[in-house]
């Protein structure tokens, strides 16, 4: 019986996993629970593991309740809600010793195995649903809400919070609301009637989530595009980036439609493929609109030729690469950080690109805005490299803020007045300011502003050339511009100083890294941390690397891509860089880093 477990009470510090079948409606039940815990003031982490199909395959969802406010995936599964008979055996095997498992006791008994160290709690969900609801579809859907009710009883969620959430969700669908509430109550009451609730794992109100929201990175990035003033979005659907454009469309429908005329202050184009999507973005940005495309690995591969054009012809473009597991089609619904090299050197010839590395939805928002500013300032493509974990999971995030004083940095874009004031003929690729950045103009603005854009050899005046010196002149300026980029991108952030050990990481690794560092430091290890936020690297990266005798580089790919960039683009001696690599497609846990660091140190690295 719950409550009778020998395990010590674990308040606000445990992980629940839901084992579902995709397409069965479990997502809303799981998110209901996540939100409820959050509203009770307790920090949560939600991670969704779903298959690359539409219906009928196993899917999992994990909720970590984390008093300490960690943002990484939980270390173990303490409570498992087994809703998929097919995966029952391996689900059971995954529960931590001393944990609990809730299953549907309507299932045939022969399905069930048991573990001595896991307490299994059967609840006849199917039967209850048949009893309480009519129709197959409703019964299937309500089973999910019902297990939410069961769970509420088991971990002591406030039923009023849950009901409040249902009220909001179904504000305009009273009948549906009632059905949902009934399912919730049924589960809740059944659990309390049959077991002594709550379990030692339970949620207790805190005040730790005030001013925070639960938002995914793609939605946050879309908000960033909206706020940055992007007017043209082009894309080709691809998991896990699709929801970024969906969100942008939603926001535009609300905030970019003239209420009087219904006319749109934006254009969203579903292109025929990624080559066309980036072409549209380049064309629009060349013509002065802020334009972007969200994509993932295969799209990056297809965009290479155009990305080289944009680099060489110096056209702004913003690309969101929501990374998934590669190579090739790989595992489209799993997460990885594996496109750094493909983006940094996208295209043939001598090319270099600017990359931004958000660590969370919050930075997806801010970096989206920065990406547009940088793309226009530098007149070059800028990549925002997020990943499936950031992009598609809801993260507890300090409420996004906006400075109404913000004005877009259009860079060296000459206005009609500026062109009119020119006393000499306008030339496109001069470098009057010595920072490698030329001036540009838009079509239609002035009879004096025309220039010709081409990916073929051109000189500083913008004229076609096959002359060696003229060609090289432009290439050298582009190299200079890239050095300027290093001074403009968001700087790396560091935590700690003076230790001889350092850890360098980026993006979604930040969450597990911080948790790992806490554990390592608690164990007495002095170690500093640098979170890289962009490529090319600023001097602060150089300095951090120089200041540490040994450095761990933590990243989510097989080939140590961040370490490669550090090795090539800084003065660091690569022998001082120790890789900790995680590339199985699931979000990283802190354990992997703690173990990784300790393993290297055990080999006698000089600290």
């Amino acid at each position: 019986m719950p409550g009778s477990s020998a395990a010590p009470a674990r308040v606000n510090d445990f992980t629940i996993r839901f084992a579902n079948v995709n397409g069965s409606g479990s997502a809303s039940a799981n998110s209901l629970i996540l939100k409820a815990i959050c509203r009770m003031g307790v920090p949560v982490v939600g991670k969704n593991f779903f298959p690359s199909n539409i219906q009928g395959l196993p899917a999992w969802y994990e909720i970590r309740v984390t008093r300490a406010g960690w943002r990484a995936r939980g270390a173990s599964v303490d409570l498992l809600v087994a809703m998929n008979a097919e995966t029952y055996a391996r689900d059971l095997a995954d529960v931590a010793p001393g944990g609990w498992l809730v299953y549907d006791s309507s299932w045939p008994q022969e399905l069930l195995h048991s573990r001595a160290d896991v307490q299994a709690l059967g609840v006849p969900l199917a039967e209850l649903c048949t009893e309480h609801f009519e129709g197959g579809r409703t019964r299937t859907l309500m089973k999910n809400v019902m297990y939410a009710g069961v769970l509420a009883a088991l971990v002591d969620l406030d039923p009023a919070v849950l009901r409040g959430l249902l009220d909001e969700s179904f504000a305009r669908q009273q009948r549906l609301r009632d059905t949902n509430v009934r399912a919730l109550e049924t589960g809740y009451q059944w659990a309390r009637a049959h077991w002594s609730c709550p379990l030692p794992l339970r949620v207790e109100r805190m005040e730790a989530t005030r001013g925070q929201v639960l938002i995914d990175g793609n939605t946050a990035a879309a908000l960033g595009c909206l706020y940055a003033g992007a007017t043209v979005g082009a894309w080709y659907p691809i998991t896990p980036s699709t929801s970024l454009m969906d969100a942008f469309r939603g926001f535009c429908a609300q905030y970019r439609v003239d209420p009087a005329t219904g006319r749109h202050d934006y254009v969203i184009l579903q292109a025929e493929d990624e080559l066309a999507a980036i072409g549209i973005v380049i064309g629009a940005a060349w013509n002065g609109a802020r334009a972007f495309t969200p994509t993932s690995g295969p799209g990056i591969s297809l965009m290479q030729e155009f990305l080289g054009l944009a680099y060489y012809a110096e056209v702004p473009a913003v690309i969101f690469d929501v990374q998934r597991v590669g190579p090739s089609t790989g595992m489209p619904t799993r997460t990885q950080q594996c496109d750094l090299l493909a983006c940094a050197w996208a295209s043939h010839g001598d090319t270099r690109h600017v990359l931004l590395f958000p660590d969370s939805p919050a930075e997806c928002f801010t970096m989206a805005v920065q990406a547009f500013d940088l793309a226009e300032r530098l007149q070059t493509p800028v990549f925002v490299l997020s990943d499936l974990d950031i992009g598609m999971n809801d993260w507890l995030t300090p409420e996004l803020t906006w400075d109404d004083g913000y004005r877009p940095d259009r860079g060296k874009l000459l206005s009609a007045e500026q062109v009119a004031a020119l006393t000499t003929k306008f030339h496109r690729y001069l470098d009057p300011d010595g920072d490698g950045i030329p001036y540009r103009t838009l079509p239609g603005v002035s009879p004096k502003a025309a220039y010709f854009t081409r990916g073929s050899g051109h000189n500083r005046l913008g004229a076609y050339t096959e002359d060696s010196a003229e060609y090289q002149d432009v290439m050298d300026r582009l190299a200079r511009k890239f050095r300027t980029a290093a001074t403009l991108v968001p700087p790396a952030l560091s935590d700690g100083q003076g230790a001889s050990l350092g850890l360098v990481s980026f993006g979604s690794c930040d969450a597990p890294v911080r948790e790992a560092l806490a554990e390592l430091r608690a164990g007495g290890l002095a170690i500093d941390y640098l979170r890289v936020r962009a490529f090319p690297f600023g001097t602060e990266v150089e300095e951090f690397l120089a200041a540490h005798a040994a450095l761990f580089v933590v990243e989510q790919n097989r080939d140590a891509q961040l370490r490669s960039l550090l090795t090539l683009a800084t003065a660091v001696d690569k022998r001082r860089l120790f890789s900790i690599l995680h590339y199985d497609g699931l979000p990283m846990r802190a354990r992997c880093i703690v173990d990784g660091v300790r393993a290297v140190l055990a080999e006698g690295v000089q600290a």
Partner: protein, 351 residues
Amino acid sequence: MSFLPKPKVAHPGLPLNALGLNRRDYEGVMSTLCAGCGHDSVTAAIVQACFELELPPHNVVKFSGIGCSSKTTAYFVAGAHGFNAVHGRMPSIASGAHAANRHLHSIGVSGDGDSLSIGLGQLAHVIRRNPRMLYLIENNGVYGLTKGQFSASADVGTRSRRGDVNEQRPLDPVLLALALGAPFVARGFSGDREQLVPLLKAGLSSGGFALIDVLSPCVTFNDHEGSTKSYAYVREHREAPVALDYIAPRRAIEASYAAGEVLPVTLHDGSRVLLRKLEPDYDPTDRTRAAAFVQERALANEYVTGLIYMEPERRDFHTRHNTADAALNALPFARLCPGAGKLAEILREFR
């Protein structure tokens, strides 16, 4: 190895248009194509059409891919911005630019290689999007710039300079465009400026995507006897079911015509075209029959030229997207950014 600067001498005697510009003001840098290349004639026709339409040069934007044909955007309207993109992918660049500013006059120049091989997908989809744009395929049946390989429009039996014989059936961009639902489909011939200029003007005024397949012989690689894209062949084997007069908005219709023979159509910008039917049966507003006619004549190895199909009432790109009248690239930031207050409101949903 750079271009010779082209002397821009003022020609006081040249006629001026309403903007006070003469024909030469619509020229570009000097062509580097082969002497006699059909593409240069098309360039001249474009110059003429823009001059006659009185387009302000800086309101024109020029797009192209890669190829001899694609080079020509540098050779006309020097006062316009131009974008010489990558091979076969100009339609997406042009679409994006058109999204950003709906008020420019877009002229795209492509080749049969650029549009029918590497660029076929982009061509098909820009047709579907229907941006306001004149799109020319300077069709010579070969890859000129890479020295004479067959293109997808090479006819069966065409012999290359190296002696190979093409055995693949040609793609006809006109039939393709008709099947893809293009709203304005025409064919011209670089050697017939009289027909071509009004077609270009009608295309530029059509209010949507206007595709003109221009037979434009490659004198270096595909102008020999036996080539169906040679000057001689095209001159002899083309048929125009309708003739076209283009009438600018402010001019009265001057041509006299017998009712039933001439179909006047008003274009997007108020200009008109008068379609004089040469084939009594031909109806340039019936897509199915237009396609059937083109296909039939093709079986007889004839090229149908002229305005082949035109759909007057088709919603263009921005109409379908319901875009604001103002160019998107000129909207004030305050109109685009919802501001801090709204952000808090938006975030309420995420608690």
